[in-house]
Assembly symmetry: C2
Homo-oligomer: 468 residues x 2
């Protein structure tokens, strides 16, 4: 058969899929250009790849029926949570149907006695935290975007500012409900704190970025709201002193709840954007959780360590308003960076290294940014050895994009040479497939065998994580 015959047949099949989906979902299937455009784009510089249609299911059963229809017609299915991914995870590279899971928005169970809950995939972390707060509990994983959904966070193995103390999504998930590539629904894990019962399908799906299954429900651990909370801010003589302080805090085993680095470029951006007056120095933002005496002990230890490494002006506080302002500024760091250059786009990237190599990795990356002459604030979850650049770029300027690409490639190579990873928390999407191959070599072939076993027709988020 000719190639165009194949294409015709594929298009015919795809329109039959859309017709069946319309029968299932009625006007909860949209082909409006603005809706498609919105669902083909994430928060980064990656160009939009709109799907052919966007489906708005409202239950696991509707997701299962939708996937089953798409499977019969070999139509790609791209799960869509809050659209806050950064490596092109939601792009419909081969068209197909974007499954917008925001209608799966029920908080199904909160068990205060067991410190766990079950929510549908479209529930945002902000909403879960408001509900958990009524029971004196919270869900610690905080990637910054309050509109990130818990399904999306599970699919990308999200992390963020609290991971240094509470772990990532991986450590805080107990189980999942997922729809497989043929429309079958499985429940993984359970409510027990630990289990030795068979393969860890939960953690196989966590971080698989929608390529192995569509996550529709998430069973999560919750934590008691701390009795006391304090924050602190400390500017440093230089970047090295700030990073060395962070390293020693980890090595001393101080259980800081958050420990965030912002370099002087990011501080300048954040001062402007969030109306702060922090000195233009590399700065650490801290948060401490515990009993009042434990918090006081942590604050004293960290203040001492900062002083030993060129900390210039240690300011701690237990004022909730000051705390809110601090983390608001940190969470808006990305938008602050973009505002450095109106009209520019953000290209966020991240790596994670063993903490003993962090100072060196950041310093070499800083030099590389300067010698290439690109704008790229550095910030990060330094307690984990994880840091970010945000390239503030004009995607229409090929020279500038090349310079950013070189800085990024060298940073990834540097992190891998130090025993680190090409992405601590942003994921692979289609932006970091080369880096994944550089990092895992023959392991990528094993990932591909698993993908083929679970999704033989390759309909689930094609072109993400693994090359087509």
């Amino acid at each position: 058969m000719s190639e165009s015959g194949n294409v015709d047949r594929a298009e015919g099949s795809r329109s039959r899929a859309l017709a069946e989906l319309r029968e299932l979902l009625g006007d909860r299937l949209s082909t409006a250009p603005s809706v498609r455009e919105h669902h083909g784009r994430d928060e980064s510089y990656h160009p939009a790849h709109p799907p052919d249609a966007v489906a708005f299911p409202e239950s696991t059963r509707e997701v299962a029926s939708s996937v089953e229809i798409c499977a019969r017609h070999r139509c790609p299915v791209i799960p869509f949570g809050g659209g806050t991914s950064l490596e092109g995870g939601v792009a419909a590279l081969e068209g197909g149907v974007s499954l917008d899971l925001s209608g799966l928005d029920r908080i199904l169970e909160i068990h205060p006695d067991d410190l766990d809950c079950r929510v549908e995939a479209g529930v945002t972390r902000g909403r879960l935290n408001r509900a958990a707060g009524d029971h004196g509990l919270f869900f610690p994983i905080d990637p910054g975007a309050d509109t990130a959904t818990l399904g999306g966070m599970a699919a990308t193995r999200a992390s963020g500012t609290n991971a240094v103390r509470y772990g990532t999504l991986r450590e805080n998930v107990l189980g999942l409900t997922a729809v497989l590539a043929d429309g079958q629904v499985i429940r993984t894990g359970g409510r027990a704190r630990k289990s030795a019962a068979g393969y860890d399908l939960t953690r196989l799906l966590v971080g698989s970025e929608g390529t192995l299954g569509v996550i529709t429900e998430v069973q999560l651990r919750l934590h008691g709201l701390p009795e006391a909370i304090a924050t602190a801010v400390c500017p440093f003589e230089d970047l090295d002193g700030a990073v060395r302080t962070a390293i020693e805090i980890i090595q001393w085993g101080v259980p800081v709840a958050r420990m965030e680095l912002l370099d002087e470029v990011q501080i300048e951006a954040t001062n402007r954007y969030s109306d702060r007056r922090d000195p233009l120095r590399p700065t650490l933002f801290f948060e401490f959780h515990g009993s009042p005496s434990a918090v006081a002990e942590q604050v004293a230890t960290v203040a001492r360590l900062a002083g030993e490494h060129g900390g210039l002006d240690w300011r701690s506080s237990d004022d909730p308003a000051e705390r809110a302002a601090l983390w608001h500024a940190r969470h808006h760091a990305y938008w602050a960076a973009l505002a450095l250059r109106p009209g520019a786009k953000g290209w966020p990237t991240d790596v994670c290294v063993p903490i003993s190599r962090l100072a060196e990795c950041i310093a070499e990356t800083r030099l590389d940014i300067e010698s290439e002459g690109v704008t790229a604030p550095i910030l990060g979850h330094v307690g984990d050895g994880n840091f970010h650049l945000v390239f503030v770029v004009d995607p229409e300027d090929p020279g500038e994009m090349d310079r950013a690409r070189r800085v990024n490639e060298r940073m990834v190579a540097r992190a891998l040479a130090m025993g680190g990873t090409c992405t601590g928390e942003h994921g692979v999407g289609y932006g970091k497939i080369d880096s994944l191959e550089a990092e895992h070599g023959s392991g990528v072939e094993v990932m591909r065998r698993i993908k083929e076993a679970l999704d033989p027709d390759g309909i689930l988020n094609p072109g993400k994580v693994l090359r087509r």
Copy 2:
């Protein structure tokens, strides 16, 4: 071809495999009956299923060559660590070659600054802890047996007394080196604290019990030795009060390092075996880690909670000798239980439930044990919601074995009905395959597809986790 022709061909192929292995390993391949018998049996009541031969490789490369030889001849490969498994994990159900990994015994790297290490699979946890201790560090996972190997602990997702604070093997593994079913070597994970780079092959292999790959190296997190340590012992009026104390401690967020329940039957056994004089009451053993003030705060909080729930005689101590005696007694609980009835065998089993259901689950199980008239002390890592029975049985007495089996089946069914798991830490082996199917239903079919993708000929530890 006749069936006997098939068998002849399989046997011819298997003896060719052994000949090639002998060429590779020389006298590090043994077919001596005593060696085979030892490698076909674990620490439980499961009968020995000796392999055809036992190989003693001394490097990842030799493991890879051995597996490659076995793969060509479709000869089963059963990884063997310390032989301390409890659900028949090392049994050579279809014959084949037991790969004894004790010769992979190098501690390859300890990075005190990064709190991590890399060791070969045959290194025991006792040895790692002695080496880590020189750097002021320790590896917290403690399943009880000092002779358990870290490769075996990874393969079975080991847990134990410290998991309530430090997590299980799953949370403390950074990466693995493993030999796949065709002899290919892969490295998974890395040294970064967290990563969003692709599928979590590390945690897919952890707990796969040698059915997806042979783990030859383990990259692990280490923790700083606590500045202060205290222990405490408290007998209770009744089982319910002890369990309710444990539940409240978790709900209050007290970071106890260990919290172990022993019922009065187990206390009697332990008193005799370890020469202790604990009152014959349900009893909690505790350990606390932290700064001196944090430990004092934890001890005071827990003593108060115990007093509110019928705690009779709270005794805390910071004497290292007393601590050593306490945990020696706890770690020998299994042998103490067996000594209740000389000549009997132990059938240990465990479940794990959401902690709010723990008191009810233990109480109903206790009643069931009494009404069936079997001997079965209860003990457990109650902070995780995990508890164990040890049936002290005569495997030659079918009536007694039936009664134990009924108690076990009802306990698993009870745990599953409460949202728990059929095994918190012992694993599936071939003893709990029915329970795994009851727990995970269609998820087991997904596990099977992964198994077939990675080990299409089914040579890796056949008959374990998944039914043949």
